[in-house]
Amino acid sequence: MTEELPEITPKADAVRDPAKPEPPPQVAVSPAPQFEPAADMPLLRIEGVGKTFGSFRAVDRLSLDIRAGEFFALLGPSGCGKTTLLRMLAGFETPDEGRILLGAKDIAQVPPHLRPVNMMFQNYALFPHLSVRDNIAFGLKRAGMAREQIATRVAEMVALVKLEGMEKRKPDQLSGGQKQRVALARSLARRPQVLLLDEPLAALDKKLRESTQLELMDLQRRLGMTFIIVTHDQEEAMTMAGRIGVMDAGRLEQVAAPRELYETPRSRWIAEFIGDVNLFDGEVGWRENNRLLVTTREGVTLAVTEPRQRVTKATVCVAIRPEKVKLSRRAPVSDAANTHAINRLEGVVTDVSYLGGLTAYKVKLESGAVVRASMANTARLDMDAYLAGQRVVAWFTPDDCMVLEQ
């Protein structure tokens, strides 16, 4: 399979600014070098972009930089504005305010057919009257490519998505996975500066979705292209994306790498949205070294490590992920030098859910609060499983606690 694809004229020469610095290399040689763009020069800069439909504020003065060669995911619940944002990048919606800079040029008002950006549609939007080949060639013909060049490019694209022998089929004669590949090939064929993917895997079944995720990542790395994906599936976003922008009510709540997003959420909302979490509302009692003591509403005192950014408010929320809560029959012995080395909560197991790879427990504390804990089933014959009704100690370290101020 060749990846040495000929350079294509971007669909709009008008969009290209001659003063613009050399565009990022769009043709990658296998194996692709890790492309590191200058930090101060994002490929795509979204500046205070807003969009209102009637009285509904879909996107609210949102700003975001996307680097060349990045795999970026826009994640959020339905109605959060992520699709509207993507459609503004594609040109299907015009922002009411703000700028969208691609390179140095503001494309906010440029119609979609003149943008050097392509989109892969959620339900693929393949042209039902055209064959696989003609679907892929559609954008190339519009770009005014020579006939032989189109044939070569189409053949390369077909090989890239492993659809050899299917060129003459119509979309109706393809399976869901094959349609998805055609849609991908069609949107990649023009070698866009940015590829937008709108829930590209939503229509596939779970197994196929997982393998396609890996293929998409591999493709993005090899082509060195910039991908922006919209998804509501956090696992999908975390698997594929280098950075994730979590959106809610038209705003970006947090933009971070998957690990940071999970381990250092910026708000209570993010902590609850990404993965499972136990939350304890409380008051900051006193500081001790880098420890905070928080008295929860239930009257339990928790020791937590103060985050790098010092806590300023008195009322905080302590969050702890279930897999960081350990269960044991007896309380673990704490470090004598530090009485607050470990948080221990006594309670009764009320619920046990065996999930294969892990087991999820619910522990009811004396205060009435419920703590969720999950433990990996690392051994086939587990002598350590807890039963409902059993008294246990749920414990976790201050380092595993997250302190959220909002």
Binding site: H113, V117, P128, H129, D172
Partner: protein, 304 residues
């Protein structure tokens, strides 16, 4: 005996019903017409021979069969009156269908792009004329098109013409009447196809670099062809046989086949020739029907 055996196979019965209908109300009458077309005209009641009389026995029926001939069809071919009527019918139908398509497509397209809540209202506006009798609407056109009718008054008032234009008894009047009457039949199937089209396809086309015009020609139009075919056929076939509109609005110069048929049947009382003309008309309409059927089957197979 209960009704049970009959109701035990409702599905099979339901499947037979349309065939039964076709046989009773299409095939049997067509058999009569076909038989009359092979008969000879006579001054009698009914005005043709031979007559089949089942009471006279097998030999008589056989003799009657012997009298049937293709003479009437030979007449149709040899007499230029019929040929020219057929040709005119086809010409008028093709021209009208083309005009209908040119007018109907933009209307249907506009309707399909209206906001959802306005679409039923637009549809009502297309259908509303049907609430008035067809004949009355044609008479209304006579009124509008006559020498001191509304059209001429407007044209004079706007100084587009200086003297009243003769509209009535011209082909223009006939085309106006036909296009007016058949427009809903063109619009509705087109609208149905255009309204259910996936908007994402147009977005995909523009995303891939097609300007709005190109997106229309490369995606919307090809995908609306089944609607174009249905609308064209729905108009073309009845227009070929149209009698009332040309009779009331067109001049008496050349006739469409429907008028010729009428003339043979009622004025000349020549039932056999009229029947032969009707059978020929039907045969004439079979090829476009088959063509349409084939096209539709191809789009279905190819994924339309």
């Amino acid at each position: 005996m209960s009704a049970r055996p009959i109701f035990a196979r409702p599905a099979r019965l339901a499947a037979i019903a349309p065939y039964l209908w076709m046989v009773l109300f299409f095939l049997v009458p067509f058999g009569f017409v076909l038989k009359i077309s092979l008969s000879q005209t006579a001054i009698a009641q009914p005005p043709y021979v031979p007559l089949f009389d089942l009471t006279e026995g097998w030999a008589a029926i056989k003799a009657a069969f012997g009298q049937l001939s293709l003479d009437n069809f030979k007449l149709l071919i040899s007499d230029s009156l019929y040929i020219s009527s057929y040709l005119r019918s086809i010409f008028v139908a093709v021209t009208s269908t083309a005009i209908l398509l040119l007018i109907g497509y933009p209307i249907a397209y506009g309707m399909a792009r209206l906001p959802q809540r306005w679409q039923p209202i637009a549809m009502m506006l297309v259908i509303v004329p049907f609430w008035t009798s067809f004949l009355i609407r044609i008479y209304a056109w006579i009124n509008i098109l006559q020498h001191d009718g509304l059209l001429n008054k407007v044209l004079l008032a706007l100084h587009i013409v200086s003297t009243p234009v003769v509209w009535l008894s011209t082909d223009s009047a006939m085309y106006i009447g036909i296009v007016y009457s058949y427009l809903p039949f063109m619009i509705l199937p087109l609208y149905a196809t255009l309204a259910k089209m996936d908007g994402a396809l147009i977005e995909a086309a523009s995303d891939l670099g097609a300007s709005p015009g190109r997106a229309f020609w490369l995606v919307t139009f090809p995908l609306s062809l089944p609607g174009v075919g249905a609308g064209a056929l729905l108009c073309f076939i009845p227009i070929v046989g149209e009698f009332v509109i040309p009779d009331l609005l067109a001049g008496s110069g050349s006739m469409m086949i429907g008028q010729t048929l009428w003339l043979e049947f009622f004025t000349n009382k020549d039932w056999p020739v009229a029947s032969a003309a009707a059978v020929a008309l039907l045969l004439l309409l079979i090829p476009p029907l088959l063509l349409y059927d084939r096209l539709q089957r191809r789009t279905l197979r190819g994924g339309g």
